[in-house]
């Protein structure tokens, strides 16, 4: 099989780490694996080699926005993960939030605006409206993208302009969301052909209080509790939320939902990832391990499911 990692997105480095780890896990599980970047050499390579299945581990645009999956559809190769349309919707956080609301899930109130709107209407007034409508604290993030790149928690209105500029450095549209404070959790969902099934909930406790890029990818700077130290009912609710969004978006094989549990025990959907990080510091492998599963064997099962999907 072929593991694709790298690409040109801002998350290239994370993708390379995910790819390396999954390729090793698959080899340990007995699979024959090639690893490749996504570049101008990929399609000629695919013309000469026909892998049984592709495991796309590109994070960020191209990898998660459906583009690469469209190409894999055109090439006619089975691949692990959601299809192009579902990926496109899931990757767009504001759109995914609408789908989550439609599925009856709680998601923090938010406003999505391109930077042109601020320019046309005057940034000061628009930001005043945002704070008035959503209150503080806020979380500002690029509408698309992962690894918390360009994300800021805003506790004072004075910090909002800078947070907006930081988010717009990663894309033309920003999501300004009410910041829900509480227990931060990640919930993977797998589907090896028998329906979506949530894996153990992972509680994320970054040392600095914010699960930013440094906290995500510096081993030792975040404590993970798995299964999360929460009531069984709450864990079941987290699992339900993750499975619900997985199904509502039409995702396949593997996803990871990022959720917040507030002081009242309400579970808030924040975002879902169709190519979740599988690095040494990522939450999904922790959950897989806590479920008693082997990462290589599990990905192998996802590969079989992907191949079976293609088989007439």
């Amino acid at each position: 099989m072929l593991v694709l990692a790298g690409g040109l997105s801002h998350e290239r480095d994370v993708s390379i780490r995910s790819g390396r780890r999954v390729a090793e896990a698959l080899r340990d599980a007995g699979f024959e694996v090639d690893e490749r970047d996504v570049d101008a050499g990929l399609l000629p390579w695919l013309a000469d080699h026909t892998p049984d299945c592709v495991v796309p581990l590109l994070h960020g645009e191209t990898g998660e926005d459906g583009a690469l999956r469209e190409i894999l559809e055109l090439v006619g190769l089975p691949y692990v993960g959601a299809g192009p349309a579902a990926s496109r919707v899931a990757f767009d956080k504001p759109v995914a939030k609408v789908v989550a609301q439609g599925a009856g899930l709680h998601t923090p109130p938010s406003v999505t605006l391109p930077h042109e709107t601020f320019r046309e209407l005057g940034a000061a007034m628009v930001m005043h409206l945002l704070v008035a409508a959503l209150g503080l604290p806020l979380i500002v993030k690029p509408a698309k993208g992962g690894s918390a790149l360009g994300c800021s928690v805003v506790r004072s209105a004075d910090d909002l302009p800078s947070a907006m500029v930081d988010a717009f450095a990663y894309g033309d549209t920003a999501l300004v969301e009410q910041c829900i404070e509480g227990v931060e959790v990640a919930v993977p969902v797998i589907d090896t052909g028998e329906g979506p099934r949530a894996l153990p909930v992972v509680e994320v406790k970054p040392d600095g209080g914010v699960y930013d890029y440094t906290a995500r990818y510096t081993a030792g700077s975040t404590e993970f509790v798995v299964p999360a130290k929460i009531d069984d009912d709450l864990a079941a609710e987290c699992a339900r939320v993750a499975e619900t969004i997985h199904a509502a978006l039409g995702l396949r094989d593997l996803s990871r939902s990022d959720l917040m549990i507030d002081a009242e025990g309400r579970v808030w959907f924040l975002e879902v990832n169709v190519a979740p990080g599988l690095t040494e510091t990522s939450t999904v492998p922790l959950s897989v391990q806590a479920a008693g599963l082997d990462l290589g064997t599990l990905v192998g099962d996802l590969v079989r499911a992907a191949v079976a999907r293609r088989t007439p």
Binding site: H10, A169, Y213
Partner: protein, 448 residues
Amino acid sequence: MSEQTRREIGRAESTGRGEPGRTRLDSYVDRYAARTNGMTASEIRALFSVASRPEVVSLAGGMPNISGLPLDVVGQAIHDLVQTNGATAMQYGSGQGDPTLREQICDVMRLEGIEAHPDDVVVTVGSQQAVDLVTRIFCDPGDVVICEAPSYVGALGVFRAYECDVVHCEMDSEGLVPSALRDAIATVQAQGRRIKFLYTIPNYHNPAGVTLSAERRTEILEICREADVLVLEDNPYGLLGFDGDPIPALRADEADGVIYLGSFSKTFAPGFRVGWVLAPHAVREKLVLAQESATLCPPAFSQMAVSSYLTHHDWLGQIKQFREMYRERRDAMIGALDDLMPAAARWNVPAGGFYVWLTLPDGLDAKAMLPRAVTARVAYVPGTAFFADGFGAQSMRLSFCYPTAERIREGVRRLTGVIEEELELRETFGAPSRHLQRGYEAPNSDLT
């Protein structure tokens, strides 16, 4: 689903959720020294991962362009080395370094007016290790090292590792400003703190591109002599000036108060990792002991390969070729900047070396802008990398050493678009970036 997966999921469901396990994913986390606190993943480093792709014009890296090296000559020299002297080349060597190479190093330094004895030379694993060894033998935690503002990122990393306090000192278009150095020394000494040395790159500075003027060289040495401050002169680019003969080194005028660092990384090839220290005799003794504890000895094979290259090849002619190539690339970069950059941006015109220091229009933040630049397929190093105190956000280092002239122009064109977009964004949002520290006169205020 595999039988194992089915069995394990079934077991997890039947036995409930189990006891919470806590992990930090690094079981050694409580054992690391405090100095590792800053060794963390960073968004900036992640973005540089994209810069390695050919679609991106990287004006970030300082890799010398060695495509002009005569690989056949080098290959033959290494072949001959293994054939005739392989057993020695692949054996441990002297901690101080190969005697023949140390003699040749003295010949190299003579080009910059330095008269030295091979006994006072210690070969190191690149001059980067020389910075490390010198800091190791001189600096206790909390000792002050004075550096130019900005300064070489690799040296700042060493000073951080040895827990030194870096005090930056203003530069302008003629290099380190003597009055600023005098003030910095007085301020630190008035605080009762010890200054261990001044770390300076007088020629074609990395990252600032400027060169210390001849008049100031004398004055800087006088100031340091009077204040009893040692000078650590780092001179990897000294032979890569574009105009005239090499500039005499600080060490040429001052033997006792200057420790001189040299390197073959830019004048030959960095892969051999051969640099050196020239130090007063007593210091040299300590450096050899420090080198022995660090590596036992610098790699004999690399030293002998470099020595063979110097013996059998027209290395001075090769350096001349390098200079012409880098001059052409410098001209391409300056020409593109002149043609394309917004008027409010400022930059200098280096007389040698690899780098241009560009200061953005007011309110722009090179660090915050980097993701946009990577999206536009151009990369640079934000100025903050070259300061120990968080300053430099309004500036960036642009390297002209590696890309071709055409790619440099394309890179500057892309960068200009990014800056114009960022200007528009800043105009919309008004407030400067949180990374730009106000109420402080940045020491790199006039490098142009």
